[in-house]
């Protein structure tokens, strides 16, 4: 099962190495890991997607919490959350195919961010499933390059019945 784990960590050198090293040393698999600053300059947030059974994820959570500069750990499993990925994707886009591609981009509420002679760069964000679907839809045109952020997530504050 996939778990999204959010860790608030001190914004210090070596913390990422410590977290990554712990995952490697204990043979836990990371699906994705995103680090970014927060509103507090002393803290960063790591969002880690882990796949494993409950016992493994429980260990991941505890081992993370044990790392001294890790301030807080939350496992979002079972909670309503907003989870998003961001992707930049470069597609082969010869002039005759562009109308088709642009309508695809429209359908996915994506944006063209760069236009070259033969290719387009598109920015798309959303749940991971949407990103995957967009990649599949683009395959026939020829994908040149993909860069993805991995998942970031936050629990919903609104009524829990509002699903993402």
């Amino acid at each position: 099962m996939k778990h999204i784990i959010s860790a608030l960590v001190e914004n210090k050198p070596g913390v990422l190495a410590h977290v990554a090293g712990m995952f490697a040393a204990r043979a836990f698999n990371i699906d994705s890991l995103v680090v970014g600053r927060t509103e507090d300059p002393k803290l960063s947030r790591m969002t880690i997607v882990v796949v494993g059974d409950d016992k493994v994820v429980e260990q991941v959570r505890k081992q993370l919490a044990k790392i001294v500069p890790v301030v807080k750990v939350q496992d979002f499993v079972g909670q309503p959350v907003v989870a998003r990925d961001l992707m930049l994707i470069t597609l082969s886009a010869p002039p005759d195919k562009r109308p088709e591609i642009l309508s695809l981009i429209e359908m996915f509420k994506a944006r063209v961010v760069d236009i070259g002679v033969k290719q387009l760069m598109v920015e798309v964000s959303g749940p991971e499933t949407k990103i995957e679907a967009f990649i599949d839809a683009c395959k026939p045109y020829g994908i040149k390059n993909v860069a993805r952020t991995g998942t970031i997530a936050m629990p919903r504050q609104g009524p829990s019945e509002v699903k993402s």
Partner: protein, 587 residues
């Protein structure tokens, strides 16, 4: 580099004996002085350290500081000394090393301390801040290398942080589940000056300690104990670290519970008491292993269900409900699923438990245990004409009234010590359990003797374990430490040889080396050396050894192919022990 640094420092007049890094007349203090002052504030009066280029400013400040510095012959030895000092005293052990090779040599010692939860603070020099990352002379990525073998580490890049980071290192090393912490300090930070003002506040937003166990969990544990017909207490080093032996004794007595100990738990409970089942696990007692496999309730306290304890996990304590009391939440349900976890300090939780538990006779259960004890005691051929290693240990135990501080190497020597020396109090048995570091015994004995100058400290060692760090004998001689090294010399790496005999068709591949004459080695290094090869000479030799005021090495030429019994072969359940027929025949 050292020369360069001195040139850059304060100019030295030929007459002045003040050093290049001493503080001037203002309130400015050199980083090295801040380190020393912080250590003194933290109560450090002894440390183990080896100097080198980029740690010289610190050693200069130690030159006339009220701190005793013991210089090992190798940084690994220094780290084990700090570890032995910490285990024997309960205080933080401090080790200092230079950058690069000095820091790298600490790693085995740090990993040993991490596995066994020992409070050690390591301070390492680092190349100048602006050289870091440039492959400078004696540069290594010390924090990178030591991160997996420390509880925490950090590099100080601003002198303003120096005192705080050192204070935090001591706090982290010695609290919650203790462990080694390393602070890497570039040489320019040691030389830079800073006006330290006011008290130093720690800033550890991510470090929390859970001392009090959850009241409802404690009550649930007490209720389970009160209901149990066949309980077993399984205690580890955590009880010793928590200074909770007294609470353990009260709990075992009040609720009437049999107690088995892990290797590191030895000393937490008097082995002469009727409730003691001695050690459990791969080379544990048959009665402890049978009791664990048959119990209906296993109460683990400060232990972590190591694979050497559980044997095959799937069939470990198959009928038991499991209570696990530990300060480290990651230990809980890591290897074995726990029914009633209680996270917190063992001393606090046991104090609370004692209030709620009731006495129960459990006559049948104790009768069964007594039968196992009678049938399968630890034993060996006492009528043999050769020097049996177990005999040497029994004799050591007898002549020291079971009161000496014992360190060990790793392997057969360690297992026989755990089986045949009967411990009565905490911090008496000092051994590398988790990492199994050969060569630990001698430097740990040195550290223990420094912590406890009046105690009898004996390193019961193997010949090959001793080979690994015997250079530290020179350190013991220099400091006139009356440590006693008893080498159980069988000429082999004993446990590998035993496994080769049992599982590899007696093909003794690479497990036998040509040893030196240890008596000569000892004498050359300035220690007392003796060789004992006759059984009849053992008692007299031990008596002589115990009376010695100088370090001694007594080389006992023991039976070469003696095995440790019982033995749970790898991958087997605890009750599937080999060698029971041997024990039974000699009982």
């Amino acid at each position: 580099m050292t020369i360069k640094f001195i040139r850059k420092g304060v100019k030295m007049s030929p007459k002045s004996r003040s050093s290049a890094v001493s503080a001037d007349k203002s309130n400015l203090k050199a980083g090295a002085q801040i380190i020393v002052d912080t250590l003194i504030d933290l109560g450090v009066d002894t440390m183990f350290g080896y100097c080198g280029g980029v740690i010289l400013p610190l050693f200069d400040r130690l030159y006339d500081a009220p701190i005793r510095v013991i210089v090992p012959r190798h940084e690994q030895g220094g780290c084990h000394m700090a570890d032995g000092y910490a285990r024997a005293s309960g205080k933080v052990g401090v080790v200092v090393a230079t950058s690069g090779p000095g820091a790298c040599n600490l790693t085995t010692g740090l990993a040993t301390a991490l596995m066994d939860s020992v409070p050690v603070v390591a301070i390492t020099g680092q190349v100048r801040t602006e050289l870091i990352g440039n492959d400078a002379f004696q540069e290594a990525d010390t924090t990178g290398i030591t991160r997996p073998v420390t509880k925490y580490n950090s590099i100080v890049k601003d002198i303003k942080d120096l005192a705080r980071v050192i204070k935090e290192a001591f706090y982290i090393a010695s609290t919650s589940r203790p462990g080694p912490v390393l602070v890497d300090i570039p040489v320019d930070i040691q030389v830079a000056k800073y006006e330290a003002d006011g008290p130093v506040e720690m800033d550890l937003p991510g470090y929390r300690i859970q001392t009090k166990g959850h009241a409802r969990q404690i009550s649930a544990a007490a209720a389970a104990i009160n209901k149990s017909e066949k309980p077993v207490l399984y205690v580890g080093g955590g009880v010793i670290i928590a200074n909770a032996s007294e609470e353990l004794r009260k709990l075992a007595q009040k609720a009437h519970l049999p107690v088995t100990m892990t290797l590191l738990g030895l000393g937490s409970f008097e082995q002469s008491r009727p409730e003691s089942l001695d050690m459990l696990g791969m080379h544990g007692s048959a009665y402890a292993n049978y009791a664990v496999q048959e119990c209906d309730l296993l109460i683990a306290i400060g232990a972590r269900f190591d694979d050497r304890v559980t044997g095959k996990v799937k069939t470990f304590a198959p009928n038991a409900k499991i209570i696990h009391i530990d300060i480290d939440p990651t230990s809980i349900s890591k290897n074995v699923n726990v029914d009633i976890p209680v996270v917190g300090d063992a001393k606090y939780i046991m104090t609370e438990l004692v209030k709620e538990v009731e006495y129960r006779e459990r006559a049948e259960w104790f009768k069964k245990i007594a039968e196992w004890k009678k049938k399968f005691p630890f034993s060996y051929d006492r009528n043999a004409s050769t020097v049996k290693p177990q005999y040497v240990i029994e004799e050591l135990c007898r002549q020291t009234n079971g009161e000496a501080i014992i360190t060990t190497g790793v392997g057969q020597n360690q297992m026989w010590t755990a089986q045949f020396y009967k411990f009565g109090r905490p911090r008496q048995f000092i051994s590398s359990g988790g990492l199994g570091t050969m060569g630990y015994g001698l430097p740990a004995a040195i550290g223990a003797q420094i912590a406890r100058p009046d105690a009898t400290v004996i390193d019961i060692d193997g010949d090959h374990s001793f080979n690994m760090t015997m250079t530290e004998l020179a350190t013991a001689v220099e400091h006139k430490l009356p440590i006693k090294v008893c080498i159980l010399n069988n000429g082999y790496m004993g446990l590998p040889r035993q496994w080769q005999e049992l599982f590899y068709g007696k093909r003794y591949s690479c497990s036998r080396l040509q040893n030196p004459n240890y008596e000569d080695v000892a004498k050359a290094l300035g220690a007392v050396g003796e060789t004992i090869d006759k059984k009849a000479d053992v008692p007299k030799a031990i008596k002589q050894m115990l009376a010695e005021k100088r370090p001694c090495v007594f080389d006992f030429r023991v039976e070469q192919e003696e095995n440790v019994w019982p033995m749970v072969p790898a991958g087997k359940s605890l009750n599937e022990m080999d060698g029971l027929d041997i024990l039974e025949s000699m009982a």
